[in-house]
């Protein structure tokens, strides 16, 4: 596709054959990257699997031994683990819904090229470069009584502000607000980039057919965005728990474990209780669940990967 400038079909066939022969010379440039990635990710992944079959714990005086699937069996009876799965689902999907809605609206605003809104294109992206830990601090400040002032201003309009971070339900909402703030720009860029590629003749045709603006969005833009939305959803689900630093500073999984996601539980188990074997089984089970949910759609999403560029 990138050789569209080549003159004649014959030349392109010749070029391809020559290049095929040259492939051999280029493979070794790829080798360091493949070795690095295999050594740094695949090997540790297998190692984690091994760890999850042991009783390894740095807080125990007994040495690690092989215990088979015992850790995994224990998970089923671990109420804290089950709760963490539910809380993970909440903290992945609740922000995701708002990210999709607001991300779409923002992309729409930018795509309409409304006069006087150039500044929005510049500032909407700011949260993307925020270190997640600072994002967490920022919202912790805002939700802290007195320091943040949110409840003061809510009071001015007659709303008695809730205890944002110390009430279990409100804590989930507070973290979701931070997650929407932080990752909506990603969704916006994805949608906006896709909108730029939509064929204008479709819009032209719908206009000639007398479609209203709303109908155009409903019947042209939204269907065209379906593929992109799927990509966004897969990425946001897979990376949804990258909010770890936010939880870490805002609530530390509290109050009473109400914002403890599964990766946070694995963190506590592995690095505070030092039960590394059990923590491995927690995080691998979570990874397995993610993959099971996403596997069917991933095929669809990734089928055009690598065709580009």
């Amino acid at each position: 596709m990138t050789d569209a400038t080549a003159a004649a079909p014959l030349d392109r066939a010749l070029l391809r054959r020559t290049r095929g022969r040259q492939n051999r010379g280029y493979r070794r440039f790829l080798l360091p990257a493949i070795v690095t990635i295999v050594v740094l990710t695949i090997v540790p992944l297998i190692f984690t699997l091994g760890l999850s079959l042991t009783s390894l714990s740095y807080s125990s005086i007994r040495g690690p031994r092989f215990i088979g699937l015992e850790n995994y069996a224990d998970l089923f009876g671990d109420a804290r683990f089950i709760a963490s799965l539910w809380q993970s689902a909440v903290l992945i999907f609740v922000p995701l819904i708002f990210q999709l809605v607001f991300g779409f609206m923002l992309a729409l605003v930018m795509n309409e090229r409304l006069p006087g809104l150039g500044w929005l294109r510049v500032i909407f992206i700011i949260p993307m470069f925020f270190p997640p830990i600072v994002m967490g601090l920022l919202w912790k400040v805002l939700f802290t009584p007195q320091l943040g002032g949110i409840n003061h201003y809510l009071g001015l309009i007659g709303i008695s502000g809730p205890a944002w971070l110390s009430d279990p339900t409100m804590a989930l909402i507070s973290i979701s607000v931070a997650a929407v703030w932080g990752w909506t720009p990603f969704v916006t860029i994805m949608f906006y980039t896709a909108m730029q590629t939509f064929p204008s003749d479709l819009y032209e045709a719908s206009r000639i057919d007398g479609a209203t603006w709303v109908q155009r969005i409903r019947f042209v833009t939204l269907p065209l965005l379906r593929q992109t939305a799927l990509v966004v959803i897969v990425f946001r689900i897979m990376e949804g728990l990258a909010i770890f630093p936010i939880i870490y500073v805002m609530t530390s999984g509290g109050p009473a474990g109400s914002t403890e996601t599964t990766n946070y539980y694995a963190y506590i188990t592995g690095f505070e209780f030092l039960k590394v074997g059990y923590a491995s089984s927690i995080i691998l089970t979570f990874l397995a669940i993610l993959v099971a949910i996403l596997a069917p759609s991933t095929r669809l999403v990734l089928k055009n990967v690598g065709e580009r560029g």
Binding site: M190, T193, G309
Partner: protein, 275 residues
């Protein structure tokens, strides 16, 4: 194209302005906190007008632990970017030329690996680093940063490499230059801009990284994001200091981020979106 009803235009403007405030006000709040005195910070009702003081910045930059953290962050981020480039640039170059399933599977594989939650990798590194004396070292942290930066750079450079003119490198090959000579003498000069952009983005990711740093370098090689958390743990009420330190971390990330924002999507999603 004036088919948009006025009501909807008004709605779009309203949303744009509300969203702009939603993004900016929290950031401005943090910035103002960094230049408020302790008294003003906790004033009720909140003070919108106050005498700015840069005392908190003075405290932050007078703190030897924080200065060491700046050094550590610079060393780790720079080292991670340099090493990632050394591995990823040749790979992106190879992927420009290689055709067929090898190319497809490589690109797909590194994308999937990037998507795996970091916590999965953290446990084995914790065990291994304890044994291998890599805990709390610069090089130990640099190595784990390769996990996300090598895929990021490869994914960012691949489409850029495809877009630069290839007549020159093909001419060089025909004249008998080896693939390595072609890379160094022809491709790299053409790719300067793209490589710079990829380096900046990778630098931001390293600079912002928290999870690995929290576990693998808690005591000696403390980086900035962990140093800030330490402020929170040891000096819980020093919000001015925390805000000032936050501003110091976030400002370079935003400034450099703006420079490379055009390239972000392919790096983050591996071009899984058409565009």
């Amino acid at each position: 194209m004036r088919v948009r009803p006025r009501r909807i235009t008004a709605g779009l403007y309203t949303f744009a302005i509300v969203w702009g405030l939603f993004i900016l006000v929290p950031f401005a709040w943090l910035a103002s906190l960094s230049i408020k005195s302790r008294l003003d910070a906790f004033a009720d009702p909140p003070k919108l007008f106050f005498t700015p003081t840069f005392a908190a910045y003075g405290e932050v930059f007078g703190d030897p632990a924080f200065l060491r953290a700046i050094g550590n962050s610079l060393i780790v981020s720079t080292g991670a970017v340099a090493l990632s480039l050394l591995i990823a640039v040749p790979a992106a170059y190879a992927l420009r030329h290689i055709v067929g399933p090898l190319r497809h599977h490589t690109l797909l594989g590194i994308l999937l690996i990037r998507m795996v939650p970091g916590m999965v990798y953290l446990l084995p590194y914790f065990v291994f680093y304890n044994k291998a004396h890599l805990m709390d070292t610069h090089i130990g942290l640099i190595i784990v940063h390769l996990i996300f930066n090598v895929p990021l750079i490869i994914w960012m450079l691949t489409p850029i490499w495809a877009a630069i003119p290839h007549d020159l490198s093909e001419a060089a090959r025909i004249d008998g230059a080896t693939p390595f000579q072609t890379l160094v003498m022809v491709d790299l000069p053409l790719m300067k801009g793209g490589i710079l952009a990829a380096s900046i983005l990778a630098f931001i990711f390293s600079w912002n990284e928290f999870l690995f740093a929290l576990i693998l370098s808690r005591r000696e090689v403390v980086t900035l994001p962990v140093a800030i958390v330490n402020f929170l743990a040891f000096e819980g009420t020093e919000w001015g200091k925390i805000a000032a330190a936050s501003m110091f971390i976030v400002t370079p990330a935003i400034v450099f981020g703006f420079l490379v924002r055009r390239y972000m999507i392919s790096g983050l999603t591996g071009g899984a979106v058409k565009g």
